[in-house]
Amino acid sequence: DTFGIGRAALPEEIAAWDKDVRPDGTGLPVGSGDVLTGEEVFADQCAVCHGDFAEGVGNWPKLAGGADTLADDDPLKTVGSYWPYLSTTWDYVNRSMPFGNAQSLSPDEVYAIVAYILYSNDLVDDEFVLSNETFSEVTLPNHDGFILDDRLETEHSKWVGEPCMENCKDEVEVTMRAMVLDVTPEEDEPEPEDALEEVEAPIAEVATLDPELVAAGEKVFKKCKACHQVGEGAKNKTGPILNGIVGQAAGGVEGFKYSKALQAKADEGLVWTEDTLAAFLAKPKAFMKGTKMSFSGLRKEKDLAAITAYLASVDD
C-alpha cells in the first residue's frame, strides 16, 4: 500500500549524494595519496585551522597527538588518540572539509590528506601511501576503546524508586561556586554616543593593479575563504566581508562583531592599507595581540604582495 508520491531516484543522483564510507571501506572510491603529497595539500587546505602539523590553531580542532590521555583529567581527543575508524576520517574530510569549501577535494587529495594525518599521529612512516587497497591495513589505536550505552544497567537500576523526602542529609555546604571561575558572558555595555562618530577614511590611491599579481592573490585567498567572503552577495561569516577592505578604516564592516583587540586598534585610527594589511597578514597574532582571526600568517613576501593586490581589486 503506497501513495505513489515521489519519483524514482536516478543512478547518477544516488551516486552524487550517496558518498558515505563505512568502517569496512564500503563506499571508498578508487584512488591513492602519499604522506608527502598530503603534507602539501594539508598546508594549502587544512593548516589555516588545524596547523601545519595537525596540532590545531587557536580553538580549532587538534587532529594529532593526545596518545594515552583518555583517562587523564583533560583528555586530548584526536584522530590518533580517539577516533575508532579510519573510514570516519576519510568520510568526514571528503564530505565536510575544507570548512567553507566542502566537497571540493579530489579522492586522491583526500587519500593524501588522510595519509598525512596518520603520519602526524606517528601511525605510519613518511613513505606510506593510502589507497582504497591499503585502507584496510590501518587500524586506529583506539579501535577497541568504545562500549555500547550501558546506562540502563549501570545507572538506571540504581536510580529508581521512591526518593528521600525528609532528613536526606545532616548538613549541606556549598562546595563550588560559579563565581570562582566566572566565565559567564558579560552583557555588552551600550556604546557611548561618541564612539559612533564617523571615522574619515583616507581616499585610496588609485593605482593600476598588476593583473597577474591579482590572479596569484586570488589563489592565495583560498586560505582565507573558510572565514571570509568577497564579491557580490558576500556575507559576514566567521570573518567580516572584505569587499573594498583596502583603504577602509579597521573595524568598519557593518554587522560584524570584532574582537576587543581589533576594536581598540580601530579606535586608535587604524586604516587598512596594503602596508598595514601585509603586516597583519604576515603575523596576525604579533600585529594584533588578541585578534580572533586564528590564521597563522603568510610566510612568503610574494604571497603577501599577491593577497593585498587581490584585496585591492575587490571593490565595495
Partner: protein, 389 residues
C-alpha cells in the same frame, strides 16, 4: 501612601493613538522584552559558524519555545535552502529508491506532536564544577515545539524498505553533511520528517524547509535540511557518532550510541538571571522538567540543598518527550535558599545528583549531564550557580 500618578494622571497611551494594524506585518516582541534573546558563550567554540547558542529559559514560561529564541546549533552555518530547491532522497536497501520534493511531502498524511530537542552537550560545561551563572547557559541548549510532519515510517514504506536493513543513515544538505545512523526500530516508531514548528515554517536556523525530529534523543540526530535517508544493514560510524557525541568515562573507555536524553529538570526562576525582586512573602518557584524515555510523573523541589523535599505542582500532566512546567507556590521568609529540583519519569527513574553521576562517569563525559542543579539564592534575592555537599 501617596496616590500613584500612573493611575491618577492621564497617561499618553490613554489619550493618544497606538500603531495601526500594518505597523508590523510579522511582529517582533515589544522593545521592552529585548533582553529575551538567545546568547552564546564565545569561548566555547572557535567561531560562531560551527557553534551553539542558548535559549533564554530563565525568561520564558509555559512549555512552548518561540522559534525566534530557540537555541541554534550549526556545524557549517545556517544555510538558505528554498522549498523549490529542496529534494529528499531515500536509497539503500529499498525496493525503489525515491526522490521527493517539498510539495510531495505535503501530500502524505501528517501528524502534530510536541517534543523537546536537547543538545547532548546541554549542561556539559558543568561536569568539572559550577561554571556558568545562569539557567540560560547551564540548561539552555533545549527547546520544545509543536511539530507538523510526516512519520519517517510512511516514507520508508513508500520506498519499500528491506526488513533486513536494521539502520537508517540520515544526512543534511549543508556543508557539514551532518549524518547520523538511527536504528530502524526507532525510525519506524516515532521519528518525524517535519516542516512546521509551532504552526509556521521552520526557521532557517532550525533547518528550513525540512528537518528530522527524533523524539527524546540527542539533538545532533535531529538532522536539519535533511536531504537523504539510506536504509542499511550497519551504522556508518560517522564523525558525529564516533569522535563527537560519545562519552568518555573515567577509565578512558567511551560509551557510544548514548541516544536517549535522561530525565532532567531545572529551576528557571528564581535563578541567576531571574533574581527575586519582591522581598519576602508569596513566591512562585518555577522550572522545567523532561525525559527522553517518557513522560514526567513528578518533580520535587528543595530549598535547603536537598535535606528536605516538597512535591511541586505540574502545570499539566507530563507528556512523552516534551517539556513539563512545574510550580511550587510558596512563602519566602527572606532567608538564603539552596534551591534544587528533582525530576522523576514514568520509568521510575529519579534525576541523580552531580555526585552520583560523577561516581559512575568521572568528569570527562562532556555529554548527557542530567544532574540536579543548585542555585544559591541570597537574602537580597540574587542567585548564583553553586555545588553542594
Amino acid at each position: 501612601a501617596s496616590p500613584d500618578p500612573l493611575i491618577t494622571e492621564v497617561q499618553p497611551w490613554a489619550s493618544g493613538l497606538g500603531d495601526g494594524v500594518d505597523a508590523a506585518p510579522y511582529g517582533m516582541p515589544i522593545e521592552y522584552e529585548d533582553d529575551v534573546v538567545r546568547r552564546n558563550v564565545e569561548w566555547l567554540t572557535a567561531d560562531t559558524i560551527s557553534s551553539i547558542n542558548f535559549t533564554p529559559i530563565h525568561a520564558l514560561d509555559g512549555t512552548i519555545t518561540p522559534q525566534g529564541c530557540a537555541f541554534e546549533r550549526h556545524h557549517s552555518g545556517a544555510i538558505e535552502l528554498k522549498k523549490e530547491d529542496y529534494r529528499l532522497m531515500i536509497n539503500g536497501m529499498v525496493d525503489q529508491p525515491l526522490v521527493f520534493t517539498y510539495a510531495d511531502l505535503e501530500r502524505f498524511p501528517r501528524e502534530n506532536h510536541v517534543y523537546f530537542c536537547e543538545c547532548a552537550a546541554n549542561t556539559g560545561m558543568e561536569w568539572a564544577g559550577a561554571q556558568l551563572n545562569g539557567a540560560q547557559f547551564t540548561h539552555g541548549m533545549i527547546h520544545n515545539m509543536e511539530y507538523t510532519g510526516v512519520p519517517l515510517r510512511t516514507l520508508l514504506e513508500e520506498a519499500g524498505y528491506d526488513t533486513a536493513g536494521k539502520w537508517v543513515y540520515v544526512e543534511g544538505a549543508d556543508a557539514s553533511s551532518n549524518g547520523r545512523s538511527i536504528p530502524m526500530e526507532k525510525a519506524l516508531d516515532d521519528v518525524l520528517v517535519a516542516f512546521k514548528a509551532n504552526g509556521e515554517a521552520l526557521r532557517k536556523e532550525h533547518g528550513y524547509p525540512v528537518r528530522l525530529v527524533v523524539p527524546g534523543w540527542e539533538g545532533n540526530m535531529w538532522v536539519k535540511w535533511i536531504r537523504r535517508i539510506e536504509v542499511a544493514n550497519a551504522p556508518v560510524e560517522s564523525r558525529e557518532e564516533t569522535s563527537k557525541y560519545t562519552d568518555v568515562l573515567a577509565n578512558g573507555v567511551a560509551r557510544k550510541w548514548t541516544w536517549e536524553m535522561d530525565a532532567k529538570s531545572v529551576v528557571t526562576s528564581p535563578s541567576p538571571q531571574a533574581p527575586i525582586s519582591h522581598g519576602k512573602g508569596p513566591l512562585v518557584i518555577s522550572g522545567l522538567a523532561w525525559s527522553g524515555r517518557g513522560a514526567i510523573k513528578r518533580v520535587d523541589v528543595s530549598v535547603d540543598g536537598g535535606k528536605t523535599w516538597q512535591t511541586a505542582r505540574l502545570a499539566k500532566p507530563g507528556e512523552k518527550m516534551a517539556l513539563t512546567r512545574f510550580y511550587l507556590d510558596t512563602e519566602w521568609n527572606g532567608e538564603e535558599m539552596l534551591l534544587q529540583s528533582r525530576a522523576m519519569d514514568e520509568t521510575g527513574y529519579v534525576q541523580p545528583t552531580k555526585a552520583q553521576l560523577r561516581e559512575v562517569r568521572g568528569l570527562n563525559s562532556i555529554y548527557h549531564n542530567n544532574c540536579i542543579q543548585t542555585w544559591l539564592v541570597r537574602a537580597n534575592g540574587e542567585a548564583e550557580n553553586v555545588e553542594v555537599s
